[in-house]
């Protein structure tokens, strides 16, 4: 048993084998995660640029520029030739752009490194920037905004609306894909200029992991030094407007069910003691895609209203697709978020109340000793599943650099579960969560009826098609009358076709 624990700890500590550096990037800066037994080599090249750097009127430019590196021709190879060359290697590269980061990443078996490496480096250092590639990429982004996001997943739509509302007027105030109008306006010259200014040798951190030879880092540093110099002006963290009371945006559409997302900014980031304390409370309230989530138990397991109900203290894009947190989507400003998966239309008001009621109870009462013990023991082992692969651990190592964490966040997460007390957690809850102010996004039919009900704070009784225990029906009476009153000026109705224009 002791040996096992030690082995686990060592696996996590592997992520700590990099230099803790200053906030500013030095040329050739690298985060290294050597794993000699790994037959593959992992690259993550992090550029300190994201959608917050999009020029006004050109929202979506960071995302499109990154795609023009990884999904387009280079000066040496047409895109078709790149696909041909990558094909037998079973390897690829891609980019992920979020508000503050763009990471070009790829993974290859060491047998194929020789063929892969020049393609990977060319994508970053020698993009061709051809009009045909831009047309193709823009058309895909536009289809995403005009059709996919508006119509094909109401839960993703609800989250996008929530973040846009909370961060309106700040550099975080638009989704990474941009808007329909801004994407249409993006030209090849915009892309070239953005690349030259932001994808520079002074604005990157090399992430390298797996079974690589030391000489690879030397070569990579030399090749990336060929990028243009300079770095963009730092952007201060966003200051979202204070939310007073319940502010609601109802998106009216012909929806088969109601999707609900709620959130409010918080002033805490990964790495501090309070963050880990709050992580325990949040895990108990709403661990992502896990039946241990209390919200899941109340809304899904007991009442069968939907497929799941979760909460977050860090942004969690693609939550419907992922079971563990993504890497390289760091932010200097986070929100506390509740995600209620689609519920029957007539139960939207009730489900919203049920979730807010549980949140309020936690804020006011704190956790019990039993809940605290169960959850900290759960997390201590559960975080082992966050990064089982070298690629994921390398992602976390870069994130550690972003947040300025000494050592490894995941190792710290585990050790904190041994040292935090119930009092620490309940103190963190009181300090960082305040019930009563909340931005809410609802995707539903008949928006006017919901608005009227919210403004009147009228009861929302629920009728089940199947029998329920008396204890549940008794609690329902409290939920249906739980006060969630919004003022008329704080409830906005928008039609789906008005979004992301």
């Amino acid at each position: 048993m002791r040996i096992m624990t030690l082995t686990l700890a060592m696996a996590l500590l592997g992520a700590a084998m990099f230099t803790i550096g200053e906030a500013a990037v030095k040329p050739g800066d690298a985060v290294l995660l050597p794993v000699p037994t790994d037959a593959t080599i992992c690259f993550r090249i992090w550029f300190k640029v994201g959608s917050q750097n999009d020029p006004s009127g050109k929202e979506g430019l960071a995302n499109i520029t990154a795609a023009m590196l990884t999904e387009a021709s280079t000066k040496k190879n047409k895109y078709e030739q790149i696909l041909d060359k990558l094909y037998p290697l079973a390897a690829s590269y891609d980019a992920v752009t979020s508000v503050e980061m763009t990471v070009v990443y790829g993974r290859v078996h060491r047998d194929n490194l020789k063929e892969y490496y020049p393609l990977f480096v060319d994508a970053i250092t020698a993009p061709a920037f051809e009009q045909a590639d831009l047309d193709r990429i823009k058309s895909e982004v536009l289809n995403f905004l005009e059709n996919t996001l508006r119509y094909s997943s109401d839960e993703e739509l609800g989250k996008a609306v929530l973040y846009d509302d909370i961060f309106a007027g700040t550099p975080y105030g638009h989704i990474t894909a941009g808007t329909i109008g801004s994407v249409k306006s993006i030209t090849l010259d915009d892309v070239k200029e953005f690349y030259k200014k932001n994808f520079t040798r002074d604005n990157l951190v090399i992430g390298l992991g797996g079974g690589y030879q030391a000489s690879l880092l030397t070569t990579l540093r030399k090749d990336l030094a060929g990028l243009p110099p300079g770095a963009p002006q730092p952007i201060p963290p966003p200051q979202p407007a204070h939310i007073e009371g319940f502010r609601v945006t109802i998106v009216e559409k012909d929806a088969p069910a109601a999707a609900i997302s709620m959130g409010v900014p918080i002033d805490i980031l990964r790495g501090s003691k309070d963050w880990y304390a709050l992580a325990i409370a949040n895990s108990w309230l709403g661990e992502h895609r896990n039946s241990s989530s209390h919200l899941y138990q109340v809304i899904r397991e007991t009442r069968g209203l939907n497929y799941g109900d979760y909460s977050y203290i860090e942004n969690y894009p693609r939550g419907g697709m992922l079971s563990k947190p993504p890497q390289n989507v760091c932010r200097r400003k986070q929100i506390f978020e509740i995600w209620i998966r689609p519920v029957p239309l007539e139960t939207a008001h009730f489900a919203m109340r049920a979730a807010l009621r549980e949140y309020r109870r936690l804020v006011e009462n704190g956790m019990t000793k039993a809940e605290f013990n169960l959850t900290k023991n759960f997390l201590k082992k559960y975080v082992l599943h966050y990064a089982p692969t070298t690629m994921e651990r390398l992602g976390y190592a870069l994130d550690d650099r972003f947040y300025g964490i000494s050592g490894s966040h995941l190792a710290k997460f585990r050790s904190m579960m041994n040292t935090l007390t119930l009092a620490d957690v309940n103190r963190a809850i009181k300090k960082h969560w305040h019930y009563g102010n909340m931005q809410i996004a609802v995707i539903t039919k008949d928006a006017k009826a919901l608005r009227d009900a919210l403004v009147a704070d009228s009861p929302s009784p629920i009728a089940y098609k199947t029998p329920k225990p008396a204890s549940v029906l008794e609690e329902d009476k409290q939920i249906e009358a739980f006060p969630v009153k919004a003022t008329p000026e704080n409830v906005k109705i928008v039609e789906v076709k008005e979004l992301f224009n």
Partner: protein, 443 residues
């Protein structure tokens, strides 16, 4: 759907690469069977104290042979989390939580799989709770009916995707008799009626959740002898009693079928061209060739992909799915078309590409590249116990063991350009074809 496509491709890759040569699979496989028929496949591998534990039930939506019961295998997957007398649902949940396990389940045409990833020190606890629910599941009528609400919620979540609407329509159109006619989540009318199926759910459990129909796949930091002692202790008393369902074979399709389907939101039009394929059989050379043909004719290095996606930019998705199934599935080609008026032309381009493969032998180097790709995709996806177990689960469900891994890859290795041509001729003919075009209602 795109995700599904990718997943199937990954599963096939995993399956296809296992036996490229003796020794390519880097882990020793230890397979043993209890007297009651429960097969246990153990794969020790170096991992930092982690174990992946898959209970693979060889039953999926294929086995829903009774009218009005579509979606029941998936529903039953949910019910398995409702507990037993010894460990009621809330107790089961709290045990899983207390050991920090990552636990979930999934259902598809031919499989229902329950999987947990956890620290090896908790292995006995996991074997205890898993063996208990497979033998002693016990839930109330109220719990059963409440869970039906969660299923409907899952359906409502999915139905906003045009790909879900398309899949539902295509299956209904292409199949007459076989249960592949419905999706795994089931017809909406059957989901609505699920709360009435309490008695039926007991029969489902007693017929299918039996040791002869379940395979345990245990991968990671394990010692097989010690694992088997625990398995025998906890599963040894499980009684036999599997009753194979009477799945009606699909009669041969006699002619082309087509349909349109409307999606209530906005979307670019999507065309799905499906051919009646063949059941998974690694020694059927033509089937194996079809697996490769899907990639060669429609994958990212195909002439058609380059033409339609990169050069002419008339589609933003082009993909093929040649799945592995226990019975005859659909071999599908799917394209999302940027302009509605281009749909017939894109359809004809797909037909032309097939005609080319029917009349012209594929370039030998391309075929070699495709084989190499499979080999490396396989090797690169064996880095965690969960990936190994998850990748093998389908093979185990369809064939009952892992032997097919070697057989399939040996066959892939032998493929010649003539085999690819033979597969194009055998499967991709108009009389086996069904075509569905999906359009958004707002267009």
């Amino acid at each position: 759907m795109k995700q599904r496509w990718l997943y199937l491709a990954a599963a096939l890759t995993m399956l296809g690469s296992g036996g490229v040569a003796k020794g390519i699979f880097p882990y020793k496989v230890d397979t043993r069977t209890l007297p009651n028929g429960l097969k246990v496949i153990m794969i020790p591998m170096s991992s930092p104290g982690l174990v992946a534990y898959y209970s693979v039930v060889r039953t999926g939506s294929r086995d829903e042979v009774e009218a009005g019961k579509s979606g029941f295998a998936h529903f039953f997957e949910h019910m398995m989390f409702r507990g037993t007398k010894k460990y009621p649902g809330s107790v089961y949940d709290s045990i899983v939580t207390s050991i920090g396990a990552s636990a979930n389940a999934f259902t598809s045409d031919d499989i229902t799989a329950y999987h947990l990833n956890f620290a090896v020190e908790d292995l006995e606890k996991v074997i205890d709770i898993e063996s208990d629910r497979f033998q002693n599941l016990d839930y109330s009528k109220e719990e059963f009916q409440t869970e039906a609400g969660a299923i409907y919620g899952e359906y409502r979540k999915n139905v906003t995707s045009p790909f879900a609407v398309l899949d539902e329509k295509m299956r209904d159109l292409a199949f007459d008799a076989h249960t592949y006619k419905h999706t795994t989540i089931g017809f909406e009318r059957d989901i609505k009626a699920m709360p009435e199926g309490f008695e039926y759910s007991h029969s489902f459990f007693h017929r299918f959740y039996r040791p002869e129909n379940v395979v345990l796949l245990i991968v990671g930091d394990i010692k097989p002898d010690a694992v088997m002692k625990l398995v025998a202790k906890y599963y040894g008393g499980w009684k036999k009693g599997y009753e194979a369902p009477n799945v009606v074979p699909e009669p041969p399709q006699m002619g082309e079928r087509s349909a349109d389907v409307s999606y209530q939101g906005k979307t670019l039009p999507i065309i799905d061209i499906a051919y009646k394929g063949d059941a998974f059989n690694p020694s059927n050379r033509t089937y194996v060739a079809a697996v490769m043909l899907g990639d060669l004719a429609f994958g990212s290095t195909s002439d058609l992909y380059k033409k339609l996606y990169i050069q002419e930019q008339r589609v933003d998705i082009l993909d093929a799915s040649i799945p592995m199934n226990r019975d005859m599935p659909l071999f599908e080609i799917l394209a999302r078309v940027k302009k509605e008026e281009d749909v017939p032309a894109v359809r004809d381009e797909v037909y032309n590409a097939i005609a080319t493969f029917q009349s012209t032998a594929v370039d030998a180097k391309r075929l070699g590249d495709a084989k190499k790709r499979r080999k490396y995709a396989f090797l690169m996806n064996l880095d965690t116990p969960n990936k190994v177990a998850g990748g093998l689960a389908y093979t185990v469900a369809i064939t009952g063991g892992m032997e097919a891994v070697n057989a399939l890859y040996a066959e892939i290795d032998k493929l010649t350009p003539d085999d690819i041509m033979a597969a194009a001729k055998q499967y991709f003919s108009p009389e086996r074809r069904s075509v569905v075009v999906l359009k958004g209602a707002g267009q």
